[in-house]
């Protein structure tokens, strides 16, 4: 019996192995990805304010993108500690005003810094 038991042992192991393989290569592929002996990656602390900054940036960008008439193709948006900063260039005073207005409306009570450079039309000296 003992011999029989020993003979059945490999079958059970093989069956478990097949079952384990049947789970898919992903399982085996993932296994080396998190080896227990490797040092764990540095802890990433994502503060609530940073998430809020990124969300506000995304909202401003989306509003500028969605507006059918404002041309803000050369303007970038950065939010730090709740302060929205608009950078880049505008080639038209109206686009500048409209961009600032839309950003202010999205930002609500949060501050909006205008670092947009208005590229003036050419003024040949004659």
């Amino acid at each position: 019996m003992a011999a029989t038991h020993d003979r059945n042992g490999p079958l059970l192991v093989a069956a478990l192995g097949v079952a384990a393989l049947a789970v898919g290569p992903s399982a085996s592929a993932q296994a080396p990805a998190t080896p227990s002996h490797q040092p764990s990656p540095p802890e990433v602390v994502v503060s609530a304010s940073r998430l809020a900054d990124e969300a506000l940036t995304a909202k401003v960008v989306q509003v500028l993108k969605d507006d059918p008439y404002v041309f803000a193709g050369h303007i970038s948006v950065v939010t730090e500690n709740g302060v929205v900063r608009l950078e880049g260039i505008a080639t038209d005073a109206h686009d500048l005003h409209r961009t600032l207005f839309l950003a202010r409306r999205v930002a609500g009570k949060r501050r909006v810094i205008n670092a947009i450079e208005l590229i003036a039309v050419d003024s040949p000296m004659d």
Partner: protein, 578 residues
């Protein structure tokens, strides 16, 4: 017997079972070994497949990263380009068709001012004529307005927080071939439509201390108030009057300057400031030659445009410096700006002057042939000219002495703007222009001017596709006018003010394409001669007629300027930005 049989049967059955079992056991053992071998092979294949799959995934990831990097670099490169393409069809008039030139007798007022006995209309067959000469009424034309293309970018210096920045710009003429503009109505060596005619510079930028720029560019005096001007590039551009001393097409304060350094500060709680310094780099003490490295005189135009042979004497400055202070919060914008031009040479203002006060300077009316001559006249230069061109000299008159007529000019302006959330933008600005000329020459000083204003209202209709704006600019009075080429009325001496009114409507098709309509009219009082379109509109409509003489000398070779004209125009155009 029966029990024995049963026992034998049981033993036989047991034996059979044992035989079967032993056979089965050996059979099962054999099967297990086979399965194990197959499993090892299967496992090996699975491992091989996993490796191949991982390799494919790695390659795919690498390819995606490469493509992503290329896309990012390409997008960054493409986004560096910017520009404006703008062409309009205009209909304008100089508004001086019915003006008549009269002879005037010697003025009997203080300092040879009005009253001046009016004589008969001029009837000369040669300039100046009785009426403005040439096509001075309504004229249709095509104009390229503020069109340009530029490229800008930045480059991080090592791992520092400082970037190297750069911009190259080119002013495009969408309606004509690029080239020089050299005729009797305009003299310039600057190639229109060439790369570099536009803000072009290199510099350094930091988030903490701002940025420095080195090159050819507009100075803060102009850029700080650009946003107050909804009519940039149009007939009703505020530069028709703002920054434009003396009228005509050329702007004195607000032009692009050669070899200039600018500093732009970051924002401090809404406050920011900018500064500029322009190198003189001119070997002549009165700036009568080109600045080293420049193709035109400082302040524009080529040598001779002021009618003195090969001289920069029509506003050529030395060094410049200036700056601005700005404050912005919410929809509010406040600005103050200042700029100084050193030793601006305007000695050609005396050439061919009609001013009675000029004629009263000893030596002016007799060609410096009597002594003592006025110290304010450059008789030495004129007598050298007279010796070389004895037949032309009697037609001419001596210029002012550059020692007295090369002095500082400066300007200041204060303005504000408020954008209401319902779509209205209100802008206002005050400007003062100054020239520190000696009192004896104030009679020809058209560069000193206070009481000048700009106001504009701009309204965005709901939806954002359409907007409308109105604007008003006022030029305050100046102490004098050179009247060098101006067919002025001496009885109106002392009034050089003007008003410009403008209206515009824009319709946007999308983010980049706009159609616009603009109307503008300048009402010149007395002998003022401001135009429409100065400072960005491709074609200006001014108070000059088509009078000219076929040579450049001390006589009044340029077109006659009819002070008091009323230029007016309509413009409809398309504007595309990218």
């Amino acid at each position: 017997m029966c029990g024995t049989r049963v026992l034998r049967s049981l033993v036989a059955l047991l034996a059979a079972v044992l035989v079967i079992c032993s056979y089965s056991a050996s059979s099962v053992a054999q099967t297990t070994q086979d399965q194990e071998a197959r499993m090892r092979i299967l496992q090996q294949r699975i491992d091989d497949l996993s490796k191949q799959l991982k390799q494919m995934q790695d390659e795919q990831t690498k390819t995606e990263k490469t493509v992503s990097t290329i896309d990012k670099a390409w997008n960054t490169f493409i986004k560096g380009f910017f520009g404006t393409l703008d062409v309009s069809i205009d209909a304008t008039t100089k508004g001086m068709e019915n003006m008549i030139a009269y002879h005037y007798g010697p003025c009997t007022g203080p300092n040879f001012t009005a009253p001046c006995p009016q004589g008969a209309p001029k009837t000369s067959a040669t300039p100046p004529f009785q009426y403005p000469y040439g096509n001075v009424g309504w004229m249709a034309m095509m104009s390229s307005n503020g069109s340009n293309v530029g490229y800008r970018g930045s480059h991080q210096i090592g791992k520092s927080s400082v970037d190297f920045i750069y911009q190259v710009s080119a002013s495009l003429d969408m309606a004509a071939a690029p080239g020089l503009q050299d005729t009797w109505t305009k003299s310039s060596n600057t190639v229109q439509g060439a790369i570099g005619l536009g803000d072009t510079y290199i510099g350094l930028r930091s988030k903490t201390w701002g940025q420095f720029r080195f090159g050819e560019m507009f100075t803060p005096y102009k850029t700080s108030t650009d946003r107050l001007n909804p009519f940039a590039g149009m007939l009703g551009n505020y530069s028709t009057i703002i920054g434009n001393s003396g009228g005509d097409n050329r702007i004195e304060f607000g032009t692009r300057q050669d070899h200039v350094i600018t500093y732009l500060s970051p924002s401090f709680s809404g406050f920011s400031f900018d500064a500029s310094y322009g190198f003189a780099q001119n070997p002549d003490p009165y700036n009568t030659t080109l600045p080293l490295g420049s193709s035109d005189c400082a302040g524009a135009n080529n040598p001779g445009s002021g009618n003195l042979f090969l001289n920069c004497d029509d506003g050529a400055w030395s060094y410049t410096y200036g700056g601005d202070l700005k404050f912005e919060t919410g929809g509010l914008y406040l600005v103050a700006a200042y700029e100084l031009h050193g030793k601006v040479n305007r000695s050609s203002d005396g050439i061919g002057s009609n001013s009675a006060q000029y004629a009263a300077l000893p030596g002016a009316s007799n060609g410096c042939t009597s002594t003592p001559n006025s110290q304010y006249l450059d008789c030495a230069t004129f007598l050298a000219y007279a010796a070389e061109f004895p037949t032309l000299a009697p037609l001419s008159s001596p210029p002012f002495n550059p020692y007295w007529d090369s002095v500082n000019e400066w300007a200041e302006k204060f303005g504000g703007q408020y954008h209401f959330d319902f779509g209205l933008t209100v802008s206002y600005m005050y400007e003062g222009l100054h020239r520190s000329i000696t009192p004896a020459l104030e009679f020809q000083n058209e560069r000193d001017r206070g009481n000048s204003h700009w106001a504009a209202l701009e309204y965005d209709f709901p939806g954002g596709a359409d907007r409308v704006a109105v604007g008003w600019a006022h030029a305050g009075n100046s102490p004098g006018d050179p009247a060098g080429q101006h067919n002025y009325n001496p009885n109106l001496l002392g009034d050089y003010s003007a008003d410009m009114y403008t209206f515009a409507y824009w319709h946007k098709f999308d983010k980049q394409l706009t159609m616009y309509f603009n109307w503008a009219e300048t009402i010149n009082y007395g002998n003022a001669h401001y135009d429409i379109g100065a400072g960005g509109h491709g074609i200006k409509t001014d108070c000059h007629d088509a009078t000219h003489t076929p040579f450049v000398d001390y006589t009044s070779a340029g077109p006659t300027t009819w002070g008091g004209c009323h230029p007016q125009g309509f413009s409809i155009g398309l504007n595309f930005k990218f």
